[in-house]
């Protein structure tokens, strides 16, 4: 029976091709066809929009659009690396480059576009690239190593993205744009000027109003310089052409389909070409409105249109699309939406420009005050709210002027999901309206943003709508009376971040008071104010982070704090499976003198401790009894060691690579920086442990991208990455800022860590926090880099407090008999060691004797020979 199904061949498996396959499955048409996909690229469709994130650590696999098993599940036959070379419309066949011929009943062309390279001499030289595929990026990355200067031809959206990438690779970067301003298609002169200033401020050199006449090639065939129309030249070893794209319509041309005068496979409103059995969708198509769309959202609409026709359903004709975009280019927000250039008759502009801050905002309105469109550069916060309002005809809820003024100067933005009509499009990428989002909550019982994303696809494209999506979902949940318990534990209805604010603002110095004043059940309830094992350590950590401001003792074993700590913090060591403890002295940056190594060796030998190099570049000594901890630390402290906080939810280690001092590749002194960071943040109590690393060059031997905050040296300074994680759910850290000098790095890290401590949930690593918080990395960057909340000075002051108040917990404990009293095995027999802690030999060291723990009778029997209580009292 399968042979009777009509064959559908899809040529090109890019972003739109993939959306088409999804829509085919959703519409039910997949089952009625044998679907064959012929793809030129060696891998399934990936997120080309996020291509640049490949340079900040997303792998090719991360970028894939389909979940594993997608093609199999729907019975699609996928052939990778199988470009179609020709189409025979009379025979209804396609032939691949490898010579294989397949018959089709329906053909869908989704071949996308190719980068246009202006016909200048030398453009084929080694060192000249385009920016479209993962392979392009791999080639650029490989070639950039060892080169110092890079240039991008084209100052449009993609050109600026490419420039950002070159800069990130450590090249001195130039952008050459033929038009008089950057991003000529999206922004006007004012916006282009703001953009230019900011980008130049970052060290990218911008040349506008000049064309490239040639790439000069050296004797060995490599690009060496560029020559320009104004007679100037620029020495550069690497050139990326990003001068626009052209539809890939050659197949269509060759088989006689109608193509547009300036390219693009001509289609009607239902995306049919001049042959009724052939469709064209995405960037290769010339839509019925006479345009070729170089954005992904219109392509997705076309994909849906065709899939529905093939399913025999009524299809929405594709008559044209919104060209709104919001981008982050080199860290600068740029957005344009609706009638951005004010071409509507009678349109008026409302403009705010602050060239010092690199901010430019223009709203285009009708004389009646309805929003038509706008351009936002440098501060595009309002984009997600404004875009859906543009063109709806309803007057703005507040005067347009107050919408362009900086936060604080204008009226408070009353715009939220609530201000939008149901038909307003919340997610432009997937064409999801507010009404559809609300329906997902009320009709499908989605209760979280991730569920709504999965259900409606909203927010799964460029992500610029996520914030708005979040407010619409929360509003709707609230309206339908759903209450989500975000409380920390049975004792507290607040989240950790909320408790942090309560402790901070009301200066509450104890868990008991916090529970009495803010606990569930009217404060005390049946539990009698005991609290639990979840809130005690969490509140202890909050109190420790805020100790200087409360004020309470900075020592975590003092007063009530001592009672709240988890057992590891309580004994300033890590509990092991047999009840013994491990000891980890701090070895900042992993650098250690031979004398100190000898002391560690001697201590380990004298106390019979199992010794191991940890995964964090330090040394762990295992098997200490509780009563031995003070003696061990007495010797370690005397030799200049201090607590490594291996037991705390606090800074662990800052790993380092050897860096420029010794390594032939190193460009900065990574060891010195690692030590500086480790000494600065040691002892800092946080929602979860904090790890860091510093690498001396892009080879990344310290694995900084796997850390909560990782630092990688560039020839211009340091790049700071945040939100990395090893462990069970590894995550590569995201680039927060680049080319920082030492002090900038410290300042930004101070702010980042304090902001995390202030807002994260209990046991939430920075990676999970960054994924969870509204606005994600962009929001964090806005707060710590641009000080969007105005709290940066506060965060810095708190860190300064931490740094001055730091004391070594072990030295302070040894100095205080009260604190030392707890370090006994038995309260009624202080001199007696715990007889259950025993060891057996293994590989010339010891390991816990677990046999003695198996039954209590076994332990008691083994004690008969040595009556333990004798003489102890």
């Amino acid at each position: 029976m399968t042979t009777t199904r009509p064959t559908l061949i899809l040529v090109g498996y890019g972003m739109v091709g993939h959306r088409f396959l999804e829509a085919l499955a959703e519409s039910g048409a997949a089952a009625g066809h044998r679907v064959v996909v012929l793809a030129e690229e060696p891998r399934p469709a990936y997120d080309r929009v996020a291509l640049t994130s490949y340079f900040s650590g997303r792998t090719a696999e991360d970028l894939l659009l389909a979940e594993p098993g997608f093609t199999d599940r729907h019975g699609y036959e996928l052939h990778l690396s199988s470009p179609v070379a020709s189409v025979d419309r009379a025979a209804k066949t396609v032939t691949t480059g490898a010579g294989r011929t397949l018959r089709y009943d329906t053909l869908v062309l989704a071949t996308g576009s190719y980068p246009f390279v202006p016909p200048v001499p030398g453009r084929d030289a080694e060192g000249c690239f385009v920016y479209r595929t993962i392979e392009d990026l791999e080639a650029i990355e490989a070639y950039a190593a060892g080169r110092r200067v890079g240039a991008v031809v084209g100052g449009g959206l993609l050109g600026l993205e490419a420039a950002g990438a070159l800069k990130g690779l450590g090249l001195r970067t130039h952008v050459v744009e033929f038009a008089p301003r950057l991003m000529p298609v999206q922004v006007d002169d004012g916006g282009g000027e703001a953009l230019r200033r900011t980008i130049e401020g970052m060290g990218v050199t911008v040349h506008t109003g000049v064309g490239t006449t040639a790439v000069e090639v050296s004797a060995d065939g490599r690009a060496a310089a560029m020559a320009f129309t104004d007679g100037s030249r620029l020495e550069t070893g690497l050139v990326v052409f990003s001068a626009g794209i052209r539809p890939r319509d050659q197949l269509a041309r060759d088989c006689g389909l109608t193509v547009g005068e300036r390219g693009g496979i001509a289609v009607d409103e239902l995306c049919r070409t001049s042959d009724p059995d052939v469709y064209a969708i995405g960037e290769c198509a010339l839509a019925a409105d006479g345009r070729v769309y170089g954005l992904v959202a219109p392509g997705y609409e076309m994909a849906r249109t065709v899939a529905r026709q093939l399913a025999g359903q009524s299809a929405q004709p594709f008559t044209g699309a919104d060209l709104s975009t919001k981008l982050k280019l080199l860290g600068v927000d740029v957005a344009s939406f609706g009638d951005a250039f004010g071409t509507t008759p009678g349109a008026l502009d409302v403009v705010y420009a602050d060239s010092r801050a690199g901010v430019y905002k223009k709203l285009v309105v009708t004389p009646e005050g309805a929003l038509l469109g706008g351009i936002l550069v440098g501060d595009a916060e309002a984009y997600a709210m404004l875009r859906p309002l543009a063109g709806t005809g309803s007057p703005l809820p507040v005067p347009a002027e107050s919408l362009v003024l900086p936060a604080g100067l204008g009226a408070a933005l009353p715009l939220g999901g609530a201000a939008l009509p149901d038909e307003a499009v919340v997610c432009n990428c997937h064409g999801v309206t507010k009404g559809e989002v609300r329906a997902a909550v009320t009709g499908h019982a989605c209760t979280t943003v991730p569920e709504v994303k999965a259900c409606t696809k909203a927010g799964t494209g460029c992500g610029s709508c996520l914030k708005l999506l979040g407010t619409v979902v929360t509003d709707e949940l609230a309206a339908s009376g759903v209450e989500v318990d975000r409380g920390l534990c049975p004792c507290f209805g607040q989240s950790r971040a909320e408790l942090y604010e309560l402790v901070r603002v009301k200066r509450i110095p104890t868990h008991a008071r916090l529970l009495a004043e803010h606990g569930r059940l009217g404060g005390r309830g049946a539990a009698g104010g005991e609290g639990c094992e979840v809130c005690k350590p969490a509140v202890a950590s909050i109190i420790a982070s805020l100790a200087p401001q409360l004020p309470v003792s900075g020592h975590i074993l003092d007063g009530e704090q001592g009672a709240l700590q988890d057992t590891n913090d309580h004994f300033l060591a890590n509990l092991q499976r047999n009840g013994s403890y491990s000891v980890v002295p701090r070895i900042p940056g992993g650098e250690i003198t031979p004398e100190k190594l000898i002391v560690i060796g001697e201590v380990a030998r004298d106390f019979g401790l199992y010794t191991k190099i940890t995964g964090g570049q330090r040394i762990d000594l295992f098997g200490a009894r509780v009563d031995q901890l003070p003696e061990i630390w007495h010797r370690l402290v005397a030799a200049g060691f201090e607590s490594g906080h291996a037991y705390g939810k606090s800074l662990r280690t800052v790993k380092s690579c050897v860096g420029s001092t010794w390594c032939r590749y190193g460009v900065q002194d990574s060891v010195a920086m690692a030590i500086r960071l480790e000494l600065r943040y040691r002892g800092l109590r946080s929602p979860h442990k904090l790890k860091s690393a510093v690498s001396g060059c892009a080879r990344e031997c310290a694995e900084a991208r796997g850390k909560d905050f990782g630092v990688i040296a560039t020839s211009n300074g340091w790049n700071l990455y945040v939100g990395g994680n090893g462990g069970a759910t590894p995550r590569h850290a995201d680039l927060l800022a680049q080319d920082l000098d030492d002090d900038q790095l410290i300042r930004l890290t101070d702010r980042f860590l304090m902001f995390y401590i202030r807002t994260a949930d209990r046991l939430e690593r920075t990676s999970a926090w960054l994924e969870r918080i509204e606005g994600g990395l962009d929001h964090v960057r806005a707060v710590v880099f641009e000080d969007s909340l105005g709290i940066a000075a506060d965060l810095e002051a708190m860190m300064a407090h931490h740094v001055t108040d730091y004391q070594d917990e072990w030295a302070a404990t040894l100095a205080d008999p009260g604190r030392l009293a707890r370090f006994v095995s038995f309260v009624n027999a202080p001199g007696v060691p715990d007889p259950s802690i025993r060891f057996t030999p293994e590989r010339d060291q010891v390991k816990p004797d677990l046999a003695v723990l198996a039954t209590e009778a076994g332990l008691l029997a083994s004690l008969v020979r040595t009556p333990v209580l004798e003489g102890s009292r």
């Binding site: 059940l521 009698g528 609290g531 639990c532 094992e533 009293a821 095995s825 309260v827």
Partner: protein, 127 residues
């Protein structure tokens, strides 16, 4: 540092009017455990009994004392005295094992996370 001083005074006052020490019933006799002020509310201490067994003695935040076996039945390690105290919303005071976090009701010895497991409860009194 006003807050710290106030707390210290309050605790000193409580000590003056409170009990002197804590005793545990073992083999038919009340064995001394430690002075009352050695017990920190919400935490425990380990006690070596005359027969070589070990008990964990706790003082909760309402100053009631509890004692159970010190051995964590899930791992065999003698560590329950180092766990944190907590209370369920209906008021059962428990200790959470510091190793794998199972909770044990201090009044009955019952494991709240695995009803099949129960640990020994000792009688204990402040005097």
């Amino acid at each position: 540092m006003t807050t710290a001083t106030t707390t210290a005074t309050a605790m000193a006052a409580a000590t003056r009017t409170g009990p002197d020490r804590v005793e545990l019933l073992s083999g038919g006799t009340w064995t001394p455990v430690c002075a009352w002020e050695r017990l920190v509310p919400g935490r425990g201490v380990a006690v070596l009994l005359p027969d070589g067994r070990q008990a964990a003695v706790f003082r909760d935040s309402r100053d009631a004392v509890h004692a159970v076996a010190n051995r964590d039945p899930f791992t065999g390690a003698y560590v329950l005295s180092r766990g944190l105290l907590g209370a369920t919303p209906d008021g059962r005071v428990y200790v959470a094992s510091p190793l794998l976090k199972q909770r044990f009701d201090l009044a009955t010895g019952e494991c709240l996370d695995d009803p099949a497991v129960r640990i020994e409860v000792h009688r204990v009194r402040p005097v």
